[in-house]
């Protein structure tokens, strides 16, 4: 048992439901108690979906516990088959099914006899995988199923498309800015002269999945969802894939070059260098931004980064490599992918934190006292408490992270958005600081409080007043250093003298 207040990644079934409901005309039936369909609420609220979320529950209640859920599950599947005529029904196990250990596979077989829809059981175990891993698996499972089916019916298309083409893999519902990223990537592919063969799973129909092998290669923009599918397609059809996230100027170029390499290996003669140069220098504003005085002012400023592997790694590189910002630590909650994360960011930050515990992250932020945070909604709230601005770069997210306006994180337009996000976060803190220097804010009564850095020291009135004059975002650090200085010297009361002495001694 563990005491938990907050989790970064959801339970496994959420991952499966995200994949299933990203497809068109696929219905998921959860094997779960009443009340576990909260996914529908989230999708309807966050994505502002106009359509009913294609998820229903085969309810596990007392009755089912006593008599088994076989009949009920089969009925629910065949009923949904009649009502909505979906192409595929995915039976989705939950934590409850994981311990009931009923033969769900068998129910699926029974139900598929009477259904026109295809029926499958999502192969995810609540206790072994989380939301992201389950999404990755379920996507692969569905692709495998339809490739095999096509093979069996002998209608797997042979050969490739005439022009170079790509499958974009891993765009999902409730994914962080996925909709916008997808539009941006399609545009990018267009400009590279590459046709988009299929985007999966978002908006795809399962009957088109057999066409996947027609693409020349696969693009997997996010680390969390799609790699298993790309690997499978590589093994089956020898399809190459690119798994470089095109986020930031340098990584976008690297991704494009990798694509160029693949196409050249396949006998195309493409050269994207001019395109990259042109985009970098004139289309994206990010490269110019990094040379501008605005960005120069950010040089050496401290930041911390936390999120899923994809966004935390990419953001760390953008901050350190493209903007000269000092990333004190970068971290991820994707513990299962720790090795990759370490490899990606180790040269761009002082320290790496891999944890699922938001308390550790809160403490680390309080200790570091960066000028800006880039994290999830949880870090945003830590920032609020500590008076440090935060740019949200990864899930878990809220309704405000589903903007209506066009806000990709990937591709060249993405670099502009990221530059804005970074610059706005830092200047927010800076403005605050200026306001305080010129006495624009009411003087705050309470001394700035670190989350885990509560003080037991007494300050006299004058020293306290002086502390209030220290700009907000360094005040905590000054306070702590002064207190440490006093404590080391067994000084009980901090006076003006002590304050200045500390400043001289430690440069606080």
């Amino acid at each position: 048992m563990k005491l938990a207040y907050w989790m970064y990644a959801g339970p496994a079934h959420i991952g499966t439901l995200r994949i299933a409901s990203s497809f068109k005309n696929v219905h998921a039936i959860m094997h779960a108690p009443l009340g576990d369909d909260y996914f529908n609420v989230m999708r309807s609220m966050l994505e502002r979906e106009r359509d009913f979320t294609p998820v229903t529950t085969s309810v596990v209640d007392r009755h089912v516990l006593a008599g088994g859920s076989g009949e009920k599950v089969v009925n629910n599947i065949t009923r949904k088959d009649r009502e909505d005529k979906p192409d595929l029904i995915v039976l989705t196990p939950t934590c409850t099914s994981s311990i009931l250990q009923e033969d769900l596979e068998n129910f699926v077989e029974q139900a598929s006899l009477d259904s026109k829809s295809d029926v499958m059981l999502a192969d995810v175990n609540h206790y072994r995988v989380n939301e992201l891993q389950a999404a990755d698996r379920t996507l692969q499972q569905i692709i495998k199923f339809y490739i095999k089916k096509a093979r069996k019916h002998g209608n797997l298309p042979a050969g490739k498309t005439a022009k170079p083409s790509v499958n974009i893999i891993g765009m999902t519902t409730l994914g962080f800015h996925n909709q916008h990223d997808c539009t941006e990537l399609k545009k990018l592919m267009g400009e590279l002269g590459i046709e988009v063969n299929l985007v999966i799973p978002q908006g795809a129909h399962v009957e088109t999945l057999k066409d996947l092998p027609k693409a020349w290669f696969n693009l997997v923009p996010y680390r969390e969802v799609g790699l298993m599918t790309a690997e499978y397609l590589k093994t089956e059809f020898d399809m190459p894939y690119v798994d470089i996230t095109p986020m930031g100027v340098v990584e976008t170029a690297r991704c494009i070059r990798a694509i160029g390499q693949i196409l050249n290996d396949m006998g195309q003669e493409v050269d994207y260098e001019d395109y990259i140069t042109n985009q970098t220098l004139y289309v994206s504003e990010a490269a110019w931004f990094s040379r501008s005085i605005d960005c120069q002012n950010l040089t050496g400023k401290k930041a911390v980064v936390f999120g899923d592997s994809t966004h935390a790694a990419a953001m760390t590189k953008v901050l350190a490599r493209e903007m000269g910002i000092h990333v004190v630590w970068a971290g991820t909650y994707c513990k299962y992918d720790e090795e990759w994360f370490r490899r990606e960011v180790s040269e761009y930050c002082d320290e790496i934190l891999v944890t699922e515990n938001h308390g550790d992250i809160g403490d680390a932020i309080a200790k570091t006292e960066p000028a800006a945070i880039f994290g999830t909604q949880m870090e945003r709230h830590v920032g609020k408490r500590l008076n440090i601005p935060c740019g949200v770069i990864a899930a878990p997210i809220h309704i405000q992270n589903f903007p209506i306006g066009y806000k990709p994180f990937l591709g060249y337009e993405g670099t502009n958005q990221v530059a804005d996000l970074v610059y706005n976060s830092f200047t927010l803190g800076m403005e605050d600081h200026l306001l305080e220097i010129f006495g624009g804010h009411d003087t705050k009564e309470v001394i700035h409080k670190g989350i885990s850095a509560d003080s037991d020291m007494d300050w006299d009135r004058e020293a306290k007043e002086l502390l209030q004059k220290v700009p907000g975002f360094v005040r905590g650090k000054v306070k702590r250093n002064t207190e440490k200085f006093a404590r080391d010297r067994k000084i009980a009361l901090i006076t003006l003298e002590v304050f200045y002495a500390a400043k001289e001694a430690v440069g606080a």
Binding site: M1, K2, L3, A4, Y5, W6, M7, G10, P11, H13, I14, N25, A32, P33, L34, G35, D36, D37, Y38, N40, V41, M42, S44, M45, R48, E49, R50, D51, F52, T53, T56, T57, V59, V60, D61, R62, L65, N76, E83, D84, T94, C95, T96, S98, I99, L100, H126, Y127, N130, M378, H381, P396
Partner: protein, 469 residues
Amino acid sequence: MATVTPEPQALSFECETGNYHTFCPISCVAWLYQKIEDSFFLVIGTKTCGYFLQNAMGVMIFAEPRYAMAELEEGDISAKLNDYEELKRLCLQIKRDRNPSVIVWIGTCTTEIIKMDLEGLSPRLEEEIGIPIVVARANGLDYAFTQGEDTVLAAMAARCPNEAPEEAEKKERNAIASLLNFGKKKEEVEAEESAYADHPPLVMFGSLPDPVVTNLSLELKKQGIKVSGWLPAKRYTELPVIKEGYYTCGVNPFLSRTATTLMRRRKTKLIGAPFPIGPDGTRAWIEKICSVMGVEPKGLAEREAQIWESLEDYLQLVRGKSVFLMGDNLLEVSLARFLVRCGMIVNEIGIPYMDKRYQAAELKFLEKTCHEMGAPVPTIVEKPDNYNQIERIKEIQPDLVITGMAHANPLEARGISTKWSVEFTFAQIHGFSNARDILELVTRPLRRNNSLNGLGWENLVREGAKHNI
């Protein structure tokens, strides 16, 4: 043409498949930890439960709530780990960090299925760590949404003291009372006491925000009725004394287990009344209490009329409009009854669970209201089937659907106005003065419709789209 006066219809009840959206009952943690200020709620469940609470509580989760998950891991399920030791470790940590006066364990589906004996473990642990542990099995296998509160209060009912505490202790217990009487002379306090009629002790049950508690207590005080306690109180340490023969009365329609516990285990007498929702409900509630207490109610008719008068602007918006309640929180019958009195036509009352005994007075009141208003008597659909309901909504095209968030946006996109049902559970809707708040909620989509009228974009789904209605 021969006119036949139709027989007034009676209520009809149906029961469907139980395939509907609602919140898991563990959500009661969100409002109960706020209500009971010295409590700590520990939900013993899985990531699924945690994910739900984290998302359903919204921004509250960032305010260091007095709640946590005891997240079960594979070792707990396979009984490799010792439940008692594990729970002890976590509860000691809670004691150290928060020092609550009570820890409430919320049992979940998983603890049910693996048959973790929470009721058996708690007394021993309680003894060992010196903090009361109350066990409530508020899981999704057995209950829906607000019924979670019912299971917690039923468990708390067993903890209410039998006897008024000894003098010294009493002083402390009555700290709040003496605070209220601060500065008053003893005679004044006594005079105040004598403002009450001589009636047997009466304890209310149901968790309401403090302003509403004060409001309802004052409303009864006007009739000379004294509320001697409220379950739950602001603090666990202030749970009311309940003795055999006391009278009890509920303020919410979903508290049937609590009512049963108070009757069977605490030997109290239950006053079965309609619920104080809407001015009609509030008046009927007070009247029923008065009649049981042998008090002649005064001024209630005028009071009710006055409230209705003040609602006229809102009533003009709802009169003659139809409303369909899909059903997810058990407030539906009371709400429907109020809305019929407001002049609305209720198409259907969906409800998760219908306790015809506990809600008897409310049901009768609904029937009577329909007859008096000349409105059709709606069908009450227990354990509704959302798919079928949407088919019916498609056919009836009601002016308003009261429903959960899962269906609200899709219905709006199809030109059907909706009101999010969960708001009724969190808004203040009890008593005379909150009637306006209920109508504020109910009319919001109608007022929105009036503001956006004539723009021509009511139906925003493509023709032929799946699930189109």
